[in-house]
Symmetry: C2
Subunit: 226 residues, 2 copies
DNA sequence: TATGTCTCGATACAGTGTATCGCAGAGTGC
DNA sequence: GCACTCTGCGATACACTGTATCGAGACATA
């Protein structure tokens, strides 16, 4: 085809300015709205009006992007308080609140080592506030609280999703899993479970989280005084 | 095309006998060997010498398969012991051991509600052994231990993988992240972190897990005696 | 001005989960 | 014994994923 008939290349739009931060922010917005599985490089690129491959100038791999997202959330966690107990409680509660803002965080937390600047800064803040604790004790202590928080928020979000999935409201949920549990209990194979489910007081998510955390902090307190 | 020219259909092999259990077992083998991301319906079907769509007679969705895999692992966890403390410790340790046999379990645990028969049986065994505990206390208690275990094993596996990834042995790992941490600490922005990393005794994974668990069990013990 | 370097993004590839649907074989009723 | 219906298998197809490749334009340097 001769030049004359060949159309000029389209006026290329000035390439949109890009940055790691912008990419991560976009990814987080997508994930907040529609969950982690809605986050694809193509969708991010689309939202930024950019070719998918462009992103690879800023990240090497999708996993790296996920790491950046996680680290960005860590920036929202700024523990505060006086004394080890208050600080640890605060980091736990703030992490849980962050998960409520970003449910997908529960899917990633604990899944990869968190060595980004914000995660380190969070760790630093906690350790700095625990200066009066025996240096050999400090890591096990923080690690234990982290572990509890990771597991607790995962459980909580998993349950919340299950309720939401099967029909949006709680009545629907009970209409689906209630009968299943009824039938299962009817087999008589789970008497202890049945008893607890029927007779025990049911705590809401806030209380459940707080009680477990108190167990842990109480236990830590005991060891520290020894 | 006339019959004469049309080749006979190939001798169809008798359709391989299939079952949910066989499918799940195959999926677990794949995951044990090469991780969760190596588990695809096509690979499972291939290993079973079967068309991929055949699996949909037994499961409706890949997520269902993952649920079945998780429940199958729960079957390996048979808590035992006298008294609430021994039983809870046993369920924690056994879960951790199961994760060591099936690293991918750490990726799934806590991510979805566990209502399969084996998970329920595990719960039943725990609750049955906790018969002497106040009925209103029993759920928060078990939930807290579960949360701790979920988070702890996730952390542990994440760390283990990170070490393995960057070069297979620990020397290589320290050669990669060591310098990164050195440089990061050199900024002087993380003095408390630096101090702890440098001065504190480093516990291995077993000890770390056990210490955190002891914190929690101690705390529970305190509440129960009150 | 010519040359080399970098950057962008279209295209391509191998892989994924799953919807669709023709068809063969098994089972059923006459 | 034969026609018919039904069932379930699996080839094919679709939309989507992450990412390798590479030609071409933009820019910086000699």
């Amino acid at each position: 085809m001769l030049v004359w008939e060949r159309p000029e290349p389209p006026d290329r739009p000035v390439p949109a300015p890009l940055s790691r931060e912008l990419i991560v922010r976009t990814a987080i917005e997508l994930a907040d709205e529609a969950g982690l599985e809605a986050v694809s490089l193509r969708k991010i690129a689309g939202a930024l009006d950019v070719g998918p491959m462009r992103l690879y100038g800023y990240i090497a791999t999708k996993d790296e992007l996920l790491d950046l997202m996680v680290d960005a959330v860590h920036a929202e966690i700024r523990p505060a308080g006086d004394g080890w107990r208050e600080v640890l409680r605060s980091v736990a509660e703030l992490t849980r609140q962050a998960v409520h803002r970003h449910e997908w965080f529960a899917d990633l937390i604990g899944g990869r080592p968190q060595l980004g600047p914000n995660a380190l800064a969070r760790g630093e803040a906690v350790l700095a506030a625990l200066g009066d604790v025996d240096v050999d004790m400090v890591m096990p202590l923080v690690t234990a609280v982290d572990a509890y928080v990771i597991g607790a928020v995962r459980r909580e979000i998993a349950e919340r999703r299950a309720e939401r999935t099967s029909g949006m409201d709680q009545r629907q949920w009970q209409a689906t899993f209630g009968p299943y549990l009824e039938r299962t209990f009817a087999t008589g194979r789970f008497p202890a479970l049945e008893k607890v489910v029927r007779d025990a007081a049911h705590l809401d998510a806030d209380e459940t989280f707080r009680i477990g955390l108190d167990f842990l902090l109480d236990g830590i307190s005991g060891r520290l005084q020894r």
